[in-house]
Amino acid sequence: MTITWTDWQATAVPLLLALGAVAVLLIDGFWRTGTKQLKHTVITLITGGVILFGLVFVMSQRDAFKPAFCRTAVEGPAECSLVLEPLTIGLWAVLLIGGLGVVGLSAYRLLSADIPVGEYHFLLLSALVGATVLAGARDLATVVIALEVVSLPSFAMVALRRDRRGSEAALKAFLVSVLSTAVMLFGISYLYGVTGSLYLQTIATRMPGIDPDLRRVAFAAGLFVIVGFGFKIAAVPFHGWLPDTYSGAPVEVTAFLAVVSKSAGVAGLLVLVTFGVAPSGSDLRIVVAILAAVTMTVGNLAALRQVEAVRLLAWSSIGQVGFLLAPLAVGDAQAVVAYLAAYVVVTLGAFGAVAVVQRHRPGGLFLSDYRGMVRSEPGLGVALVFFLMVLAGLPPGLAGLFTKFAAFQAVIDAHYGWLALVMALNVMIGLAVYLRWVAELFRLPADDPFSVNIESPAVGVISLCAGAAVVLSILPGTLFALAG
Protein backbone atom coordinates (compact mmCIF):
# COMPACT_ATOMS: atom_id res chain seq x y z
CA MET A 1 0.00 0.00 0.00
CA THR A 2 1.23 3.40 -0.87
CA ILE A 3 0.29 6.46 0.97
CA THR A 4 -1.67 8.68 -1.38
CA TRP A 5 -2.25 12.40 -1.42
CA THR A 6 -5.69 11.78 0.00
CA ASP A 7 -4.12 10.03 2.93
CA TRP A 8 -1.94 13.02 3.58
CA GLN A 9 -4.90 15.36 3.39
CA ALA A 10 -6.95 13.24 5.69
CA THR A 11 -4.20 13.00 8.24
CA ALA A 12 -3.05 16.56 7.81
CA VAL A 13 -4.53 17.78 11.04
CA PRO A 14 -3.21 15.04 13.33
CA LEU A 15 0.10 15.22 11.60
CA LEU A 16 0.25 18.94 12.03
CA LEU A 17 -0.59 18.62 15.68
CA ALA A 18 2.08 15.97 16.15
CA LEU A 19 4.65 18.15 14.47
CA GLY A 20 3.56 21.04 16.63
CA ALA A 21 3.97 18.88 19.68
CA VAL A 22 7.49 17.96 18.78
CA ALA A 23 8.27 21.56 17.95
CA VAL A 24 7.02 22.73 21.30
CA LEU A 25 9.06 20.11 23.06
CA LEU A 26 12.17 21.08 21.16
CA ILE A 27 11.71 24.79 21.77
CA ASP A 28 11.19 24.16 25.42
CA GLY A 29 14.16 21.93 25.66
CA PHE A 30 16.70 23.97 23.75
CA TRP A 31 15.66 27.53 24.33
CA ARG A 32 17.03 28.55 27.65
CA THR A 33 17.79 32.20 27.14
CA GLY A 34 14.43 33.99 27.21
CA THR A 35 12.45 34.94 30.24
CA LYS A 36 9.86 32.60 31.47
CA GLN A 37 7.10 34.83 30.29
CA LEU A 38 8.44 35.09 26.77
CA LYS A 39 8.95 31.38 26.52
CA HIS A 40 5.55 30.62 27.83
CA THR A 41 3.95 33.10 25.48
CA VAL A 42 5.81 31.76 22.49
CA ILE A 43 4.84 28.22 23.33
CA THR A 44 1.25 29.25 23.86
CA LEU A 45 1.24 31.04 20.56
CA ILE A 46 2.76 28.12 18.71
CA THR A 47 0.38 25.64 20.23
CA GLY A 48 -2.56 27.90 19.62
CA GLY A 49 -1.36 28.62 16.11
CA VAL A 50 -1.06 24.96 15.27
CA ILE A 51 -4.52 24.24 16.57
CA LEU A 52 -5.94 27.29 14.86
CA PHE A 53 -4.31 26.25 11.63
CA GLY A 54 -5.84 22.85 12.04
CA LEU A 55 -9.17 24.48 12.62
CA VAL A 56 -8.87 26.55 9.48
CA PHE A 57 -7.93 23.47 7.55
CA VAL A 58 -10.88 21.62 8.97
CA MET A 59 -13.19 24.42 7.98
CA SER A 60 -11.78 24.46 4.50
CA GLN A 61 -12.55 20.78 4.13
CA ARG A 62 -16.10 21.21 5.29
CA ASP A 63 -17.90 19.09 2.78
CA ALA A 64 -15.07 16.77 1.95
CA PHE A 65 -15.41 13.03 1.86
CA LYS A 66 -11.97 11.48 1.91
CA PRO A 67 -11.40 7.89 2.94
CA ALA A 68 -7.76 7.32 3.77
CA PHE A 69 -5.47 4.35 4.42
CA CYS A 70 -7.75 2.15 2.45
CA ARG A 71 -7.32 -1.42 1.50
CA THR A 72 -9.34 -3.11 -1.17
CA ALA A 73 -11.40 -5.74 0.48
CA VAL A 74 -12.13 -9.18 -0.77
CA GLU A 75 -15.75 -8.34 -1.10
CA GLY A 76 -17.56 -5.05 -0.68
CA PRO A 77 -16.11 -1.55 -0.73
CA ALA A 78 -12.63 -0.71 0.34
CA GLU A 79 -11.83 -0.91 4.04
CA CYS A 80 -10.36 2.27 5.43
CA SER A 81 -8.66 3.21 8.65
CA LEU A 82 -9.58 6.87 8.61
CA VAL A 83 -12.36 8.70 6.87
CA LEU A 84 -12.55 12.43 6.52
CA GLU A 85 -16.23 13.17 6.19
CA PRO A 86 -18.61 15.81 7.55
CA LEU A 87 -19.03 13.97 10.82
CA THR A 88 -15.28 13.80 11.27
CA ILE A 89 -15.02 17.46 10.41
CA GLY A 90 -17.63 18.35 12.98
CA LEU A 91 -15.95 16.32 15.68
CA TRP A 92 -12.56 17.71 14.81
CA ALA A 93 -13.89 21.21 14.98
CA VAL A 94 -15.28 20.55 18.42
CA LEU A 95 -12.08 18.93 19.61
CA LEU A 96 -9.86 21.64 18.22
CA ILE A 97 -12.01 24.40 19.64
CA GLY A 98 -11.84 22.67 22.98
CA GLY A 99 -8.09 22.35 22.71
CA LEU A 100 -7.74 25.96 21.71
CA GLY A 101 -9.78 27.00 24.69
CA VAL A 102 -7.62 25.00 27.03
CA VAL A 103 -4.53 26.55 25.54
CA GLY A 104 -6.07 29.94 26.13
CA LEU A 105 -6.77 29.02 29.71
CA SER A 106 -3.15 27.93 30.13
CA ALA A 107 -1.59 31.18 29.02
CA TYR A 108 1.10 32.87 31.06
CA ARG A 109 0.12 33.67 34.61
CA LEU A 110 -2.89 31.45 34.26
CA LEU A 111 -1.10 28.17 34.28
CA SER A 112 -0.03 27.10 37.69
CA ALA A 113 3.63 28.02 38.14
CA ASP A 114 4.97 24.59 39.03
CA ILE A 115 3.81 23.00 35.81
CA PRO A 116 6.53 22.61 33.17
CA VAL A 117 5.27 24.60 30.25
CA GLY A 118 6.82 22.77 27.35
CA GLU A 119 5.85 19.30 28.43
CA TYR A 120 2.38 20.49 29.28
CA HIS A 121 1.78 21.79 25.80
CA PHE A 122 3.47 18.79 24.26
CA LEU A 123 1.20 16.43 26.12
CA LEU A 124 -1.80 18.55 25.26
CA LEU A 125 -1.01 18.43 21.57
CA SER A 126 -0.27 14.71 21.70
CA ALA A 127 -3.62 14.08 23.29
CA LEU A 128 -5.21 16.19 20.58
CA VAL A 129 -3.49 14.06 17.99
CA GLY A 130 -5.05 11.02 19.53
CA ALA A 131 -8.40 12.71 19.79
CA THR A 132 -8.49 13.76 16.17
CA VAL A 133 -7.40 10.37 14.96
CA LEU A 134 -9.97 8.75 17.18
CA ALA A 135 -12.76 10.87 15.71
CA GLY A 136 -11.85 9.76 12.23
CA ALA A 137 -10.83 6.21 12.94
CA ARG A 138 -12.71 3.44 11.26
CA ASP A 139 -10.84 0.38 12.46
CA LEU A 140 -10.57 -1.02 15.91
CA ALA A 141 -6.80 -1.01 16.10
CA THR A 142 -6.67 2.67 15.33
CA VAL A 143 -9.50 3.32 17.71
CA VAL A 144 -7.88 1.65 20.64
CA ILE A 145 -4.44 3.11 20.02
CA ALA A 146 -5.81 6.57 19.45
CA LEU A 147 -7.77 6.28 22.61
CA GLU A 148 -4.58 5.44 24.45
CA VAL A 149 -2.93 8.45 22.88
CA VAL A 150 -5.69 10.60 24.29
CA SER A 151 -5.56 8.98 27.69
CA LEU A 152 -1.96 8.55 28.65
CA PRO A 153 -0.89 12.17 28.07
CA SER A 154 -3.96 13.33 29.97
CA PHE A 155 -2.90 11.32 33.01
CA ALA A 156 0.55 12.70 32.76
CA MET A 157 -0.98 16.17 32.64
CA VAL A 158 -3.06 15.44 35.71
CA ALA A 159 0.04 14.62 37.68
CA LEU A 160 2.10 17.35 36.09
CA ARG A 161 2.18 19.47 39.21
CA ARG A 162 3.89 16.49 40.78
CA ASP A 163 2.30 16.91 44.18
CA ARG A 164 0.33 14.63 46.43
CA ARG A 165 -3.08 15.44 45.07
CA GLY A 166 -2.02 15.33 41.46
CA SER A 167 -0.35 11.95 41.76
CA GLU A 168 -3.32 10.46 43.50
CA ALA A 169 -5.68 11.88 40.90
CA ALA A 170 -3.52 10.55 38.10
CA LEU A 171 -3.24 7.15 39.69
CA LYS A 172 -6.97 6.78 40.01
CA ALA A 173 -7.60 7.83 36.46
CA PHE A 174 -4.77 5.66 35.26
CA LEU A 175 -5.84 2.49 37.00
CA VAL A 176 -9.39 2.80 35.81
CA SER A 177 -8.24 3.61 32.34
CA VAL A 178 -5.93 0.66 32.15
CA LEU A 179 -8.66 -1.64 33.30
CA SER A 180 -10.93 -0.19 30.67
CA THR A 181 -8.33 -0.65 28.00
CA ALA A 182 -7.92 -4.25 28.98
CA VAL A 183 -11.65 -4.81 28.95
CA MET A 184 -12.01 -3.09 25.61
CA LEU A 185 -9.16 -5.02 24.09
CA PHE A 186 -10.65 -8.22 25.35
CA GLY A 187 -13.87 -7.25 23.63
CA ILE A 188 -12.01 -6.36 20.48
CA SER A 189 -10.30 -9.72 20.48
CA TYR A 190 -13.64 -11.43 20.52
CA LEU A 191 -14.98 -9.13 17.84
CA TYR A 192 -12.05 -10.08 15.75
CA GLY A 193 -12.64 -13.67 16.52
CA VAL A 194 -16.26 -13.49 15.52
CA THR A 195 -15.95 -11.38 12.40
CA GLY A 196 -12.38 -11.87 11.39
CA SER A 197 -11.77 -8.22 10.79
CA LEU A 198 -10.95 -5.08 12.66
CA TYR A 199 -12.53 -2.69 10.19
CA LEU A 200 -15.74 -1.27 11.51
CA GLN A 201 -17.35 -1.32 8.15
CA THR A 202 -16.61 -4.99 7.64
CA ILE A 203 -17.72 -5.81 11.13
CA ALA A 204 -20.98 -4.01 10.49
CA THR A 205 -21.57 -5.91 7.26
CA ARG A 206 -20.60 -9.30 8.64
CA MET A 207 -22.33 -8.98 11.95
CA PRO A 208 -25.89 -9.68 10.79
CA GLY A 209 -24.88 -12.79 8.96
CA ILE A 210 -23.00 -14.56 11.70
CA ASP A 211 -23.85 -17.81 13.29
CA PRO A 212 -26.46 -17.53 16.06
CA ASP A 213 -24.09 -19.24 18.45
CA LEU A 214 -21.54 -16.59 17.84
CA ARG A 215 -24.02 -13.80 18.13
CA ARG A 216 -23.97 -13.99 21.89
CA VAL A 217 -20.23 -13.64 21.95
CA ALA A 218 -20.40 -10.83 19.46
CA PHE A 219 -22.89 -9.11 21.69
CA ALA A 220 -20.70 -9.49 24.74
CA ALA A 221 -17.72 -8.30 22.74
CA GLY A 222 -19.56 -5.21 21.61
CA LEU A 223 -20.63 -4.66 25.16
CA PHE A 224 -17.04 -4.84 26.35
CA VAL A 225 -15.93 -2.35 23.77
CA ILE A 226 -18.69 0.04 24.72
CA VAL A 227 -17.91 -0.46 28.37
CA GLY A 228 -14.33 0.42 27.64
CA PHE A 229 -15.47 3.72 26.30
CA GLY A 230 -17.86 3.98 29.20
CA PHE A 231 -14.80 4.14 31.46
CA LYS A 232 -13.26 6.88 29.40
CA ILE A 233 -16.30 9.10 29.33
CA ALA A 234 -17.16 8.18 32.91
CA ALA A 235 -20.54 6.70 32.30
CA VAL A 236 -22.05 5.31 35.47
CA PRO A 237 -21.05 2.85 36.95
CA PHE A 238 -17.58 3.47 35.53
CA HIS A 239 -17.44 7.03 36.77
CA GLY A 240 -15.86 6.73 40.17
CA TRP A 241 -12.50 8.15 39.21
CA LEU A 242 -13.87 11.30 37.65
CA PRO A 243 -14.77 13.53 40.59
CA ASP A 244 -11.58 12.72 42.43
CA THR A 245 -9.43 13.25 39.39
CA TYR A 246 -11.18 16.47 38.49
CA SER A 247 -10.67 17.92 41.91
CA GLY A 248 -7.12 16.67 42.20
CA ALA A 249 -5.88 17.99 38.89
CA PRO A 250 -4.96 21.60 38.17
CA VAL A 251 -8.02 23.48 36.93
CA GLU A 252 -6.66 23.85 33.42
CA VAL A 253 -6.09 20.14 33.19
CA THR A 254 -9.53 19.52 34.59
CA ALA A 255 -10.90 21.70 31.83
CA PHE A 256 -8.88 19.67 29.37
CA LEU A 257 -10.26 16.43 30.76
CA ALA A 258 -13.79 17.73 30.72
CA VAL A 259 -13.56 19.16 27.27
CA VAL A 260 -11.06 17.40 25.03
CA SER A 261 -10.68 14.05 26.69
CA LYS A 262 -14.38 13.62 27.19
CA SER A 263 -15.23 14.80 23.69
CA ALA A 264 -12.71 12.37 22.29
CA GLY A 265 -14.31 9.55 24.20
CA VAL A 266 -17.74 10.52 22.99
CA ALA A 267 -16.45 10.85 19.47
CA GLY A 268 -14.92 7.40 19.60
CA LEU A 269 -18.06 5.90 21.01
CA LEU A 270 -20.11 7.65 18.39
CA VAL A 271 -17.93 6.25 15.65
CA LEU A 272 -18.12 2.78 17.13
CA VAL A 273 -21.83 2.78 17.71
CA THR A 274 -22.89 4.31 14.46
CA PHE A 275 -20.43 2.63 12.14
CA GLY A 276 -19.67 -0.74 13.48
CA VAL A 277 -20.46 -2.34 16.73
CA ALA A 278 -24.07 -1.41 17.26
CA PRO A 279 -25.81 -0.79 13.98
CA SER A 280 -29.35 0.41 13.98
CA GLY A 281 -31.65 -2.14 15.52
CA SER A 282 -28.93 -3.75 17.57
CA ASP A 283 -29.67 -4.63 21.14
CA LEU A 284 -26.46 -2.96 22.13
CA ARG A 285 -28.18 0.34 21.59
CA ILE A 286 -30.54 -0.54 24.38
CA VAL A 287 -27.52 -1.07 26.60
CA VAL A 288 -26.22 2.34 25.64
CA ALA A 289 -29.63 3.81 26.33
CA ILE A 290 -29.67 2.21 29.75
CA LEU A 291 -26.19 3.54 30.39
CA ALA A 292 -27.42 6.96 29.33
CA ALA A 293 -30.38 6.88 31.68
CA VAL A 294 -28.37 5.65 34.65
CA THR A 295 -25.52 8.03 33.95
CA MET A 296 -27.56 11.17 33.72
CA THR A 297 -29.62 10.32 36.75
CA VAL A 298 -26.75 9.41 38.99
CA GLY A 299 -24.60 12.27 37.78
CA ASN A 300 -27.22 14.89 38.33
CA LEU A 301 -28.39 13.48 41.62
CA ALA A 302 -24.89 13.30 42.99
CA ALA A 303 -24.24 16.84 41.84
CA LEU A 304 -27.27 17.99 43.77
CA ARG A 305 -25.54 18.46 47.09
CA GLN A 306 -21.98 19.20 46.08
CA VAL A 307 -20.50 22.20 47.76
CA GLU A 308 -17.31 22.50 45.74
CA ALA A 309 -17.50 24.17 42.38
CA VAL A 310 -15.20 21.78 40.58
CA ARG A 311 -16.87 18.74 42.04
CA LEU A 312 -20.23 20.10 41.04
CA LEU A 313 -18.99 20.58 37.52
CA ALA A 314 -17.49 17.11 37.62
CA TRP A 315 -20.69 15.40 38.62
CA SER A 316 -22.74 17.54 36.33
CA SER A 317 -20.44 16.63 33.48
CA ILE A 318 -21.33 13.04 34.22
CA GLY A 319 -24.93 14.07 33.88
CA GLN A 320 -24.18 15.82 30.62
CA VAL A 321 -22.51 12.68 29.34
CA GLY A 322 -25.72 10.88 30.06
CA PHE A 323 -27.51 13.36 27.87
CA LEU A 324 -24.89 12.88 25.19
CA LEU A 325 -25.31 9.14 25.34
CA ALA A 326 -29.03 9.41 24.72
CA PRO A 327 -28.88 10.58 21.10
CA LEU A 328 -25.77 8.49 20.73
CA ALA A 329 -27.74 5.43 21.67
CA VAL A 330 -30.04 6.04 18.75
CA GLY A 331 -27.23 6.93 16.40
CA ASP A 332 -28.12 10.54 15.81
CA ALA A 333 -24.66 11.90 15.11
CA GLN A 334 -25.91 15.38 14.35
CA ALA A 335 -27.52 15.79 17.74
CA VAL A 336 -24.47 14.37 19.48
CA VAL A 337 -22.06 16.70 17.77
CA ALA A 338 -24.26 19.70 18.37
CA TYR A 339 -24.63 18.82 22.02
CA LEU A 340 -20.94 18.25 22.31
CA ALA A 341 -20.15 21.58 20.71
CA ALA A 342 -22.41 23.53 23.02
CA TYR A 343 -21.13 21.58 25.99
CA VAL A 344 -17.52 22.21 25.08
CA VAL A 345 -17.93 25.94 24.69
CA VAL A 346 -19.73 26.55 27.94
CA THR A 347 -17.72 24.06 29.96
CA LEU A 348 -14.60 25.88 28.89
CA GLY A 349 -16.16 29.12 29.99
CA ALA A 350 -17.28 27.72 33.30
CA PHE A 351 -13.88 26.25 34.06
CA GLY A 352 -12.32 29.52 33.04
CA ALA A 353 -14.44 31.30 35.61
CA VAL A 354 -13.67 28.67 38.23
CA ALA A 355 -9.99 29.00 37.48
CA VAL A 356 -10.18 32.74 38.00
CA VAL A 357 -11.79 32.32 41.38
CA GLN A 358 -9.46 29.58 42.54
CA ARG A 359 -6.43 31.54 41.46
CA HIS A 360 -7.41 34.68 43.25
CA ARG A 361 -8.97 33.27 46.33
CA PRO A 362 -6.92 30.76 48.27
CA GLY A 363 -9.07 27.82 49.12
CA GLY A 364 -11.86 29.21 47.01
CA LEU A 365 -13.20 25.83 46.18
CA PHE A 366 -16.68 26.27 47.44
CA LEU A 367 -19.86 27.57 45.94
CA SER A 368 -20.13 30.00 48.81
CA ASP A 369 -17.02 31.70 47.52
CA TYR A 370 -19.04 32.81 44.53
CA ARG A 371 -21.56 34.62 46.66
CA GLY A 372 -22.81 37.89 45.24
CA MET A 373 -20.52 37.72 42.26
CA VAL A 374 -23.16 39.11 39.94
CA ARG A 375 -22.83 42.35 41.80
CA SER A 376 -19.23 42.41 42.83
CA GLU A 377 -17.81 41.12 39.56
CA PRO A 378 -20.69 41.58 37.11
CA GLY A 379 -19.01 40.52 33.92
CA LEU A 380 -17.68 37.26 35.22
CA GLY A 381 -20.79 36.59 37.24
CA VAL A 382 -23.19 37.12 34.38
CA ALA A 383 -21.03 35.05 32.05
CA LEU A 384 -20.94 32.22 34.56
CA VAL A 385 -24.70 32.39 35.01
CA PHE A 386 -25.08 32.20 31.28
CA PHE A 387 -22.79 29.20 31.02
CA LEU A 388 -24.67 27.43 33.74
CA MET A 389 -27.96 28.17 32.06
CA VAL A 390 -26.68 26.71 28.83
CA LEU A 391 -25.64 23.63 30.74
CA ALA A 392 -29.06 23.46 32.31
CA GLY A 393 -30.68 24.04 28.96
CA LEU A 394 -32.97 26.87 29.89
CA PRO A 395 -33.37 30.30 28.36
CA PRO A 396 -31.31 32.39 28.04
CA GLY A 397 -29.02 29.46 27.29
CA LEU A 398 -30.71 28.59 24.05
CA ALA A 399 -27.71 26.71 22.74
CA GLY A 400 -28.15 24.24 25.56
CA LEU A 401 -31.89 24.25 25.18
CA PHE A 402 -31.85 23.39 21.53
CA THR A 403 -29.18 20.77 21.80
CA LYS A 404 -31.17 19.13 24.56
CA PHE A 405 -34.17 19.52 22.33
CA ALA A 406 -32.39 17.74 19.51
CA ALA A 407 -31.46 14.97 21.89
CA PHE A 408 -35.08 14.63 22.91
CA GLN A 409 -36.15 14.62 19.31
CA ALA A 410 -33.68 11.94 18.38
CA VAL A 411 -34.77 9.76 21.25
CA ILE A 412 -38.46 10.26 20.61
CA ASP A 413 -38.09 9.64 16.91
CA ALA A 414 -36.33 6.39 17.73
CA HIS A 415 -39.27 5.32 19.93
CA TYR A 416 -37.34 5.33 23.17
CA GLY A 417 -40.18 6.81 25.19
CA TRP A 418 -38.88 5.69 28.57
CA LEU A 419 -35.51 7.25 27.95
CA ALA A 420 -37.19 10.51 27.01
CA LEU A 421 -39.08 10.49 30.28
CA VAL A 422 -35.91 9.89 32.22
CA MET A 423 -34.35 12.76 30.34
CA ALA A 424 -37.26 15.00 31.19
CA LEU A 425 -36.79 14.14 34.83
CA ASN A 426 -33.12 14.89 34.54
CA VAL A 427 -33.72 18.25 33.01
CA MET A 428 -35.39 19.09 36.28
CA ILE A 429 -32.67 17.60 38.48
CA GLY A 430 -30.02 19.27 36.38
CA LEU A 431 -31.71 22.60 36.76
CA ALA A 432 -31.80 22.09 40.51
CA VAL A 433 -28.07 21.45 40.44
CA TYR A 434 -27.19 24.57 38.53
CA LEU A 435 -29.69 26.77 40.31
CA ARG A 436 -27.89 26.29 43.58
CA TRP A 437 -24.83 27.85 42.08
CA VAL A 438 -26.78 30.56 40.31
CA ALA A 439 -28.49 31.36 43.57
CA GLU A 440 -25.12 31.87 45.23
CA LEU A 441 -24.08 34.15 42.42
CA PHE A 442 -27.18 36.25 42.84
CA ARG A 443 -27.14 36.48 46.58
CA LEU A 444 -26.16 39.61 48.37
CA PRO A 445 -22.37 39.82 48.54
CA ALA A 446 -20.63 38.40 51.55
CA ASP A 447 -18.28 40.38 53.73
CA ASP A 448 -15.43 40.05 51.26
CA PRO A 449 -17.04 40.09 47.86
CA PHE A 450 -15.03 38.63 45.07
CA SER A 451 -13.69 41.45 43.01
CA VAL A 452 -10.31 41.23 41.33
CA ASN A 453 -8.37 42.22 38.31
CA ILE A 454 -8.82 39.32 36.00
CA GLU A 455 -5.89 38.51 33.75
CA SER A 456 -6.53 39.55 30.21
CA PRO A 457 -6.06 36.08 28.65
CA ALA A 458 -8.69 34.76 31.00
CA VAL A 459 -10.95 37.66 30.13
CA GLY A 460 -10.37 36.92 26.50
CA VAL A 461 -11.14 33.22 26.73
CA ILE A 462 -14.19 33.68 28.90
CA SER A 463 -15.53 36.45 26.70
CA LEU A 464 -14.92 34.37 23.61
CA CYS A 465 -16.76 31.47 25.16
CA ALA A 466 -19.59 33.71 26.23
CA GLY A 467 -19.71 35.33 22.83
CA ALA A 468 -19.72 32.00 21.11
CA ALA A 469 -22.44 30.74 23.42
CA VAL A 470 -24.53 33.82 22.67
CA VAL A 471 -24.08 33.42 18.95
CA LEU A 472 -24.91 29.75 19.18
CA SER A 473 -27.96 30.63 21.21
CA ILE A 474 -29.22 32.99 18.58
CA LEU A 475 -28.29 30.79 15.66
CA PRO A 476 -28.50 27.25 16.97
CA GLY A 477 -28.55 26.10 13.38
CA THR A 478 -24.80 26.49 13.33
CA LEU A 479 -24.48 23.75 15.88
CA PHE A 480 -26.48 21.36 13.83
CA ALA A 481 -24.69 22.28 10.66
CA LEU A 482 -21.42 21.15 12.24
CA ALA A 483 -21.97 17.53 11.51
CA GLY A 484 -23.50 18.40 8.20
Binding site: A182, S247, R305, S368
Partner: protein, 108 residues
Protein backbone atom coordinates in the same frame (compact mmCIF):
# COMPACT_ATOMS: atom_id res chain seq x y z
CA UNK B 1 -6.41 -28.72 18.50
CA UNK B 2 -9.69 -27.43 19.84
CA UNK B 3 -10.04 -23.70 19.65
CA UNK B 4 -11.64 -23.76 23.01
CA UNK B 5 -8.44 -24.48 24.91
CA UNK B 6 -6.66 -21.20 24.25
CA UNK B 7 -9.93 -19.32 24.60
CA UNK B 8 -10.63 -20.82 28.00
CA UNK B 9 -7.08 -20.16 29.04
CA UNK B 10 -7.56 -16.56 28.00
CA UNK B 11 -10.76 -16.31 29.99
CA UNK B 12 -9.00 -17.75 32.99
CA UNK B 13 -6.07 -15.42 32.70
CA UNK B 14 -8.37 -12.46 32.24
CA UNK B 15 -10.40 -13.29 35.30
CA UNK B 16 -7.31 -13.93 37.37
CA UNK B 17 -6.17 -10.51 36.26
CA UNK B 18 -9.51 -9.02 37.28
CA UNK B 19 -9.20 -10.67 40.64
CA UNK B 20 -5.71 -9.31 41.02
CA UNK B 21 -6.81 -5.80 40.16
CA UNK B 22 -9.64 -5.90 42.62
CA UNK B 23 -7.88 -7.67 45.42
CA UNK B 24 -4.37 -6.30 45.41
CA UNK B 25 -3.58 -3.14 47.25
CA UNK B 26 -0.13 -2.44 46.02
CA UNK B 27 -0.33 -0.37 42.87
CA UNK B 28 2.54 -2.24 41.29
CA UNK B 29 0.91 -5.60 41.80
CA UNK B 30 -2.22 -4.15 40.30
CA UNK B 31 -0.23 -3.20 37.26
CA UNK B 32 1.07 -6.75 37.09
CA UNK B 33 -2.49 -8.01 37.10
CA UNK B 34 -3.24 -5.74 34.20
CA UNK B 35 -0.45 -7.39 32.31
CA UNK B 36 -2.13 -10.72 32.86
CA UNK B 37 -5.34 -9.33 31.41
CA UNK B 38 -3.55 -7.97 28.37
CA UNK B 39 -1.91 -11.35 27.88
CA UNK B 40 -5.32 -12.92 27.86
CA UNK B 41 -6.22 -10.51 25.07
CA UNK B 42 -3.16 -11.49 23.14
CA UNK B 43 -3.87 -15.14 23.58
CA UNK B 44 -7.32 -14.59 22.17
CA UNK B 45 -5.97 -12.64 19.25
CA UNK B 46 -3.41 -15.23 18.37
CA UNK B 47 -5.87 -18.06 18.69
CA UNK B 48 -8.41 -16.37 16.50
CA UNK B 49 -5.74 -15.42 14.03
CA UNK B 50 -4.84 -19.05 13.74
CA UNK B 51 -8.44 -20.11 13.59
CA UNK B 52 -9.29 -17.68 10.80
CA UNK B 53 -6.09 -18.58 8.97
CA UNK B 54 -5.82 -14.87 8.53
CA UNK B 55 -3.47 -14.23 5.67
CA UNK B 56 -3.11 -10.65 6.75
CA UNK B 57 -1.98 -11.64 10.23
CA UNK B 58 -4.37 -9.12 11.70
CA UNK B 59 -4.49 -10.80 15.04
CA UNK B 60 -0.79 -11.08 15.38
CA UNK B 61 -0.30 -7.50 14.36
CA UNK B 62 -2.77 -6.30 16.88
CA UNK B 63 -1.08 -8.50 19.49
CA UNK B 64 2.17 -6.74 18.81
CA UNK B 65 0.41 -3.42 19.11
CA UNK B 66 -1.10 -4.50 22.37
CA UNK B 67 2.29 -5.42 23.72
CA UNK B 68 3.52 -2.00 22.76
CA UNK B 69 0.55 -0.36 24.38
CA UNK B 70 1.23 -2.37 27.49
CA UNK B 71 4.78 -1.15 27.52
CA UNK B 72 3.72 2.45 27.19
CA UNK B 73 1.14 2.04 29.89
CA UNK B 74 3.45 0.37 32.30
CA UNK B 75 6.05 3.04 31.73
CA UNK B 76 3.75 5.89 32.49
CA UNK B 77 2.03 3.92 35.21
CA UNK B 78 5.23 3.24 37.06
CA UNK B 79 6.12 6.90 36.80
CA UNK B 80 2.83 7.80 38.39
CA UNK B 81 3.30 5.17 41.07
CA UNK B 82 6.71 6.51 41.89
CA UNK B 83 5.29 9.99 42.06
CA UNK B 84 2.67 8.69 44.45
CA UNK B 85 5.36 7.09 46.50
CA UNK B 86 7.20 10.38 46.67
CA UNK B 87 4.13 12.12 47.94
CA UNK B 88 2.60 9.51 50.18
CA UNK B 89 5.44 7.28 51.15
CA UNK B 90 3.58 4.16 50.10
CA UNK B 91 2.09 2.71 46.97
CA UNK B 92 -1.15 1.34 48.33
CA UNK B 93 -3.85 2.30 45.92
CA UNK B 94 -6.65 2.08 48.45
CA UNK B 95 -4.87 4.26 50.96
CA UNK B 96 -4.57 7.27 48.69
CA UNK B 97 -7.72 9.04 49.69
CA UNK B 98 -6.79 12.68 49.92
CA UNK B 99 -9.25 13.66 47.27
CA UNK B 100 -12.26 12.73 49.28
CA UNK B 101 -14.80 15.50 49.25
CA UNK B 102 -14.35 17.90 52.10
CA UNK B 103 -17.23 18.38 54.43
CA UNK B 104 -18.09 21.94 55.07
CA UNK B 105 -20.90 23.51 56.92
CA UNK B 106 -21.07 26.49 54.64
CA UNK B 107 -24.19 25.16 53.01
CA UNK B 108 -27.31 26.21 54.77
Amino acid sequence: MPLIIPLLLAVALFCIGVYGVLARRNAITMLMSFELMLNAVNLNLIAFDAWHVDGLATGQTLAVFVITIAAAEIGLGLAIVLLLFRGHGHVDADAARDLLEQERGAEQ
